[in-house]
């Protein structure tokens, strides 16, 4: 949305997971408050990064922003490696969500159902805010044409900061949700960011619906791929991306970008 491609998004996801882990370890905070607290803390950290570092580069080619966020990835990842060690730390599924639920046709882990519910909720809420509210309208206007938007008396700078912080917060929330299912480790953001890029390219940049649809569809395709031919599951998403670029360069739901 912001024309800021954040390489560090996966890192924020990792920080969200670590915040959850350390919250439990040192402050004895249970899982549920962390769903709010961790995204808030990491989101604020994101705001700090935006205000102190990224803002300086807005007048330039967005490529520099990408490079700076790449540097942030390297710094934060190795910092966490120094603090937490390269190996993962386990985090238990909260009692209330452990076990399985009978859905009538299949027995499914309760925690995964919870994750699906929260993910859907956040996706719908994000889509609603961006597409249907006044704030969302301003964000879209600021993306479309920052100069005119500013002329209309809207503080574009602050809008960008808040939106960036929100995006980082959502990434951290994903990290909190992932903490009980995967090992919490410094490189957990690496894999996810490249998948995220592929999803965004497939869905079409700046299209929330596109990203959501592509994200879920690819999860499904990948799951099918695992059953049909396991070795292909890791590369399938990238192969899909290649096909999409050949057939529809702008992405499934995207418009053709103008210039850079």
């Amino acid at each position: 949305m912001l024309r800021v491609v954040n390489f560090a998004h996966g890192t924020m996801y990792m920080l969200g997971a670590f915040a959850t882990y350390y919250g439990a370890q040192f402050l004895h905070l249970p899982f549920f408050p962390m769903l709010i607290l961790a995204p808030l803390a990491v989101g604020l950290f994101g705001v700090l990064i935006e205000v102190v570092l990224l803002r300086r580069l807005y007048g330039l080619d967005p490529i520099y922003n990408l490079l700076l966020t790449f540097a942030i990835v390297l710094i934060l990842e190795d910092l966490m490696r120094l603090i937490a060690g390269p190996l993962g730390s386990p985090y238990a599924i909260p009692d209330a969500l452990s076990g399985a639920t009978n859905l009538g046709f299949v027995l499914y882990p309760t925690y995964k159902l919870f994750v699906i519910a929260v993910a859907l909720l956040v996706c719908v809420a994000t889509w609603y805010v961006i597409e249907r509210t006044a704030v969302g309208g301003r964000i879209r206007a600021a993306t479309e044409n920052p100069v005119i938007t500013r002329a209309l008396g809207i503080d574009v700078r602050r809008l960008i900061t808040v939106t960036f912080g929100f995006g980082v917060g959502v990434a951290a929330l994903a990290g909190v949700l992932a903490a009980p299912t995967t090992n919490v480790q410094p490189n957990m953001g690496d894999a996810i960011i490249i998948y995220t890029f592929a999803i965004v390219v497939i869905g079409g940049l700046g299209s929330i619906v596109g990203s959501i649809v592509a994200g879920f569809a690819l999860g499904l395709i990948q799951a099918i791929g695992v059953v049909v031919y396991p070795p292909i599951s890791t590369t399938l998403i990238f192969i899909m991306m290649v096909i999409v670029i050949v057939v529809r360069p702008a992405g499934l739901f995207g418009r053709v970008e103008t210039g850079h």
Partner: protein, 316 residues
């Protein structure tokens, strides 16, 4: 502009670098010197893309690692002269680069970076999964380097000087490209793509062509690197390597050819020394911080800042 202003300075830096290159194995461990040479050529190849056309590829490890792996596989399986293995590695990189180039030029700017990164990941996962061919997590070990055009190259110093000559030839080739009419068109595209199109240049063809050249050079450097280290390992195809070459090139100064050589040298040496401090393996902490400062404060890079008159520095 940089070239006309600073041609003498580029030549001067070139001569200094050549001299340093000649005495390097006496100063540092020769294998570190070999790594340094290979990364220098790798960074120069990337400069062709980013510095001269403005194409930020985040997937150059595809060609570097691809060239390295293919050369190593040919040596391990075929027991042929190393020259043939390297040639096959380069051929692989050229073909891969032509294909990826045709795909990636459909998108511009940051999307180009994302697409190249994602495509490079395909090869990474293939390298992880085809254990029989690539050795998987362990990488593909070469017992001995063998012979290059009949010359035994097991001795590190001998191999260093052979690699030195080849790398200098590679860099000379890149320099020739940038100063050719073809190179002028590339720079015209970087400065103003719509105008280049209006002038009748088929910019996408030029982009694919330069992407292929850069890929071939990267594959050449990667093959030399793999032979030098007796190993084609997963980190060669890892996306962090793609990122590292971006850092070296930008740090040294994009669009200068000699800059990336300086950047690669500094980067490698810094990494070597930082690894010996208490920070240890986590060298990216330092490298990332230096790179962040470079992006924020001197985007022209070390050599770029040196070549540009003070008054014009503020612009980019």
């Amino acid at each position: 502009m940089i070239r006309t202003l600073g041609r003498d300075r580029v030549a001067a830096i070139g001569v200094v670098l050549l001299l340093i290159g000649l005495v390097l194995p006496k100063v540092i461990y020769p294998v570190v010197g070999i790594d340094l040479l290979c990364f220098a050529l790798f960074a120069v190849s990337f400069d062709l893309l980013f510095g001269y056309v403005g194409l930020l590829s985040f997937g150059q490890a595809l060609f570097w690692g691809g060239g390295g792996y293919v050369a190593a596989i040919v040596i391990a399986r075929g027991h042929v002269d190393v020259a043939i293995a390297i040639a096959v590695g380069v051929a692989y990189a050229v073909v891969a680069a032509a294909l990826v180039g045709m795909l990636a030029v459909r998108r511009a700017g940051i999307y180009f970076a994302m697409v190249t990164l994602a495509v490079a990941q395909i090869q990474y996962f293939l390298a992880v999964q085809f254990v029989d061919l690539t050795g998987g997590d362990n990488g593909l070990n070469l017992g001995a380097r063998g012979h290059l055009l009949g010359i035994p190259i097991e001795n590190d110093v001998v191999y260093y000087y052979i690699a030195f000559v080849l790398v200098v030839l590679g860099i000379w080739f890149a320099l020739r490209v940038t100063r050719s009419p073809f190179g002028s068109v590339l720079q015209a595209m970087r400065e103003n793509e719509p105008r280049a199109i209006a002038l009748g240049y088929r910019v996408n063809r030029y982009k694919v062509a330069v992407f292929t050249m850069a890929g071939g050079l990267a594959g050449f450097a990667g093959a030399l690197y793999a032979v030098g280290n007796h190993l084609a390992g997963l980190e060669m195809v890892d996306w962090h390597t793609s990122g590292a070459v971006v850092m070296m090139t930008v740090l040294g100064g994009i669009g200068t050819v000699v800059g990336p050589v300086v950047g690669a040298g500094l980067f490698q040496l810094l990494e070597y020394f930082v690894a010996k401090t208490p920070i240890g393996e986590e060298t990216n902490l330092v490298m990332g911080a230096i790179f962040a400062l470079c992006i924020l404060l001197f985007r022209r890079g070390i050599v770029g800042s040196f070549l540009t008159p003070r008054a014009k520095r503020a612009k980019v």
